[in-house]
Amino acid sequence: MALRIVAETARILGASRLIAIASAHIDGCLYHGDSGTEFAEKLVAGGGKVAVPSTLNVGALDLIHPKRVHADRHRYDMALRMMRAYEALGCRPTWTCAPYQAGHRPELGEQVAWGESNAVAFVNSVLGARSNRYGDFLDIAAAIAGRAPYAGLHLAENRRARVVLETSALSAALKASDAFYPVLGTLLGREVGSTVAAIVGLPAGVSEDRLKALGAAAASTGAVGLFHVVGTTPEAPTLAAALGELPPERIIRVTAQMLRQARDSLSTAEGERIDAIALGSPHFSLEEFAELERLAAGRRFALPFYVCSGRGVLKALETEGRLAALERQGVIAVADTCVVVTPILPAGGGVLMTNSGKFAHYTPGNTGWQVVYGSLADCVATALSGRLERDERLWQ
């Protein structure tokens, strides 16, 4: 069955052949209904085993803190059966949308099959490995077959930028702020759809966490599987290299006004009321936890404060005693899943504040909550005071 699915997708994509892959990241383990469980259990019943190292994306349950998720019996049982089936297929139970923070880091140029839109953008753009945008089911089918359709971003000629996103008109202060990157990603996804873009005008050496946030937002508002940041990402030492020595088809000159509009589009609520904070889409890294600790400085939060992360990162925090300290301040750690893919937030709705472009994009539809976007510092200040605090100076 796995090979049939890979072959049929190759036909649809017009791929001339299959290629061997070195690893996979499997997004199919999140429960959306009984069909996904049926599929995974059918693979297990057929004796399926992954042929390459494969990590698992988030599931619909927090296996570390089972009471976090409000699921009825049926949903709980089916989501758990699904997660167990993927383990039985030989996948590593990483349960994170940021496998690159759990030691799964393919080499530059390596062919891989990754699912989860933010992870695809990261593995292609930041690590320079080569993955197409894998949909659920094809990722596990390719992992079992050890092969994938040779199409799309697996081919060098499809990886060159066709569009340039020019950011030199924006202030250095904005580019030094963490809140800038998800907003730029939101704008990028909306402008380019699935086209590969090269971003110019950013300071050299943009951090991984910022690139992760940019890519996750771009893969939410668009179908961005690869972007280049000139001077930072591995396939873009120069603009000419990113463009494959060809002229761009289009140049988008980003203005402060365009950026403000993109930022405003991330919020759906007005007024000062905030009912909870959620961070960690993609899953929070150790570096982001360190910044949270610095900003919160041991003070207690007045609002529920959810931080979603991988079990590996939480374990590292726990052994250093840092997790217990954060929990005393009011942090509610969510492992293996997140507040936007499964019911964790209190039913009945409210206003959620986040520093994640991806959370801001999906929260209203998936949870029924309204959303307000702000920087990490804004989120911490709001959690301390209990009402909206946003530093507007950067965006003027």
């Binding site: 199919g28 959306h32 209904g33 759809g193 179908a223 589009s265 209203p364």
Partner: protein, 141 residues
């Protein structure tokens, strides 16, 4: 059905027959986070077609965005008999087609998927009844 007044020929992604009324979405959508797999209704809060049902429609999509879990939402819609009657995509995209490919493996009902440029999609009026035949033929009533 009366004799077709005109027919378009689209590229076949997944062949098949279908009949239904056209729903052309006003903006690209991510099926995951955009369509509720338990009801078939558009839930993306910022989408112009929010609140509409895609079940049983010949659904025309200008472009695909967002989550790689769209295939899982498509599969669940097929299982629940809430899927569109057919999909007409503006560009090559395997993610939704995967839901249909896997659905066939599980014995769920299959639907045709065609590819038609967004400009040509716009020649199909909203709500008009169309019949899709093998080979990518779209007959407009």
């Amino acid at each position: 059905m009366a004799v077709a007044t005109r027919a378009l020929v689209a590229k076949v992604v997944i062949d098949g027959r279908a009949e239904g009324r056209v729903l052309r979405l006003g903006a690209p959508i991510s099926f995951w986070g955009g369509i509720d797999p338990q009801t078939g209704i558009v839930i993306d809060a910022r989408h112009p077609d929010r609140g509409r049902s895609i079940a049983g429609r010949v659904l025309c999509l200008p472009g695909m965005i967002g989550s790689s879990s769209a295939s899982a939402v498509m599969l669940e819609l097929l299982r629940q008999h809430l899927a569109p009657a057919a999909l007409v995509l503006g560009e090559t995209d395997a993610i939704l087609a995967l839901g249909v490919v896997v659905g066939r493996e599980l014995g769920y009902p299959a639907i045709p998927i065609l590819e038609l440029a967004p400009a040509e999609q716009e020649t199909l009026p909203q709500e008009v009844l169309v019949r899709i035949r093998e080979g990518g033929v779209i007959e407009v009533a």
